[in-house]
Amino acid sequence: MTMETLLDIQNLHVWYRVYGGYLKVLNGVNFTVNKGERVGLVGEAGCGKTTTMKTVLRVLPYQVSKIAQGQIMFKGRDILQMNGKALQNVRSKGIAMIFQDPSSALNPVFTVGEQLRDVIRYSLDSQTSRREREQTIERVAMQALKEVSMPDQARIMETYPIQLSGGMRQRVCISMAITMGRELVIADEPGTSLDVTIQDQILRLLHDLVKKHNTSIILITHSLGVAREMTDRIYVMYAGTMVETAQTSELFANPLHPYALGLLASVPKLTGGGIAMGIPGHLPDYLNPPQGCRFSPRCPRAMPICDSSPPPFFDMGNEHKVACYLFQGGRT
């Protein structure tokens, strides 16, 4: 099944400068998204998921971050080499991001309408007359709000974010992200700060919209359950590297990497039976990370080779890849 590759992150290394040296957060991230695909990025706090996405959009904090190595190919062009207009193009028409906390993603002193119209305005090509442009903007804005099932769109346009509930704010953020036919949407833990029933609504909404517009979506989450229900393909991330990737159903049926196994075991199950003991140890110190596999200090099946160098992806067939020396040589 040939799919057109939309986003291809190759061997990305990102460092942060701090007191004492550099935090080598991302250590060779490889990540692809195809057109129309829903890709999940699962990992715990501090593993580098948000850093990766911020690098894609080039919104890392300027003074303290450093992209040491790597390329991010978006539709064949390297985002990291882009400047000025080209980068602006990518940000306004190509990729959009939905942030985790809708309350801080929306500017509290502007109405929803003003913010929505701004987003649309910057992604329009220079239109003919000013009046036509304003009319287009208005039309697109109302349409966007309707698509996210917001009742009474005209009134919502005039409200301030603080007057809306958490779920409605998240819908506004989603509407800002999917307008103007963008090709890729990055959703950073949507619904995490919301109640379970509202989160369910938001995720289903996202699912429907993505299908309707044939948008690709990167869904970042720390919840394996959400990833399982909402994605076609999953990447599992640990300490700045992708440790395993597979089709979603394949990953849950046949998890291979010890970290993925540990994670799955730690998730409380609705069937009861207790929870596993968790994964011993803690995240590596990014100032002085291990030379080899970053998970090996905590890995119950670590071998001497694991400390030599970071393991590459070993192909297990069927798009299932594991970065673990236990599976060296492909299909076991």
Binding site: V196, S266, P268, K269, I275
Partner: protein, 338 residues
């Protein structure tokens, strides 16, 4: 089995303003009755605005109840903490959701753990240091953590310090208010297992609050689900998850994301949730859930159903299970439900 905590018809209203008809109240807890048995883990589940945290805080004494009875080991605790006798203050302890704000960032771990010990004169001063080391060992933290101040340690470890602090006073009852909601899954597993271990070892009773139903399944012996200040359903964990009766329970259970096929089978049929969660200032008349309930009928808008014991130990607040027809008669009064 004794009841360590007995609550009857507890109400906690907050005055949030006035309108033309008088003061407006936020009815956080609106008539809750429950008993907690010694040594069990009693779980309370609910979304925001349900009142689950308010109940916990009222038990602890952070709020004075608006009305209702509250007993701890037979003693009346329906009052603010400043009015409670000193010996009760060490018996009830709480672990908050966010370890960052529940531990003073300017204090070292040593000072944090020393405070309860000093206040309750539990340990002679020259043995305090040893006791602190023992406590840290109990929560699997190295002794040199004593001199660290909390901003320099990770979230999971901070929560362990919070647990150690709660244990330092030698309590018999602990309120755990979403203790792992802010933590990663692997860290959560470690803490939950440690809490269960400590419960066995020290004979503690837990009031465990969370919105994560899968977690509740593995923690609680009995579960109550709350909506807008009232309990909707109360049952043993097994019955609650295997035979949920209240429509809200089924809605919640069907919305949670699960990681395996077996769990998918366990979930009730998908109940699509619609609409927003109303605010506890504006509680709808009749049954508070009727606006979102897919199974509502005309009675639900008018009368609030009472708690009915459908099966022994399994209580539901829903007109579908009320034993009598809708004539406005009194529902079966709440009997001793322990």
């Amino acid at each position: 089995m004794n009841d360590i905590v007995q609550i009857e018809n507890l109400k906690k209203y907050f005055a949030v303003g006035k309108n033309s008809e008088g003061p407006i109240f936020l009815r956080a807890v609106d008539g809750v009755s429950l008993n907690i048995q010694e040594g069990e883990t009693f779980g309370v589940v609910g979304e925001s605005g349900s009142g689950k945290s308010t109940i916990a805080y009222t038990i602890m004494g952070m709020y004075k109840p608006t009305s209702g009875k509250m007993l701890f080991k037979g003693q009346n605790i329906a009052m603010d903490v400043s009015k409670r006798p000193q010996h009760l203050k060490k018996e009830l302890q709480i672990v908050f959701q966010d370890p960052g704000s529940s531990l003073n960032p300017k204090m070292t771990v040593r000072q944090l753990l020393k405070l309860p010990m000093r206040l309750h004169h539990l340990v002679p001063p020259d043995e305090i240091e040893e006791k602190i080391v023992q406590l840290l060992e109990k929560v699997e933290l190295p002794p040199n953590y004593m001199y660290k101040s909390t901003p320099s340690i990770g979230g999971g470890e901070k929560q362990m310090v919070a647990i150690a602090r709660a244990l330092a006073a030698g309590p018999s009852f602990m309120v755990l208010d979403e203790p792992t909601s802010a933590l990663d899954v692997s860290v959560q597993a470690k803490i939950i297992n440690k809490l269960l271990e400590l419960q066995q070892e020290l004979g503690l009773t837990y009031l465990f609050i969370t919105h994560d139903l899968s977690l509740m399944r593995n923690m609680a012996s009995r579960v109550a689900i709350m909506y807008l200040g009232r309990i909707c359903e109360l049952a043993t964990a097994k019955e609650f998850f295997e035979e949920p009766l209240h429509p809200y329970t089924r809605m919640l259970l069907s919305s949670i994301p699960t990681v395996s096929a077996e769990e998918d089978l366990m979930k009730p049929k998908k109940v699509v949730s619609t609409g927003e969660i109303p605010s506890p200032v504006n509680i709808p008349p009749g049954c508070s859930f009727h606006l979102r309930c897919p199974e509502r009928n005309s009675q639900c808008q008018k009368d609030d159903p009472g708690m009915v014991e459908v099966k022994p130990g399994h209580w539901v607040r829903c007109h579908q299970f009320s034993a009598q027809p809708s004539t406005g008669e009194q529902p079966i009064p709440l009997a001793n439900i322990s």
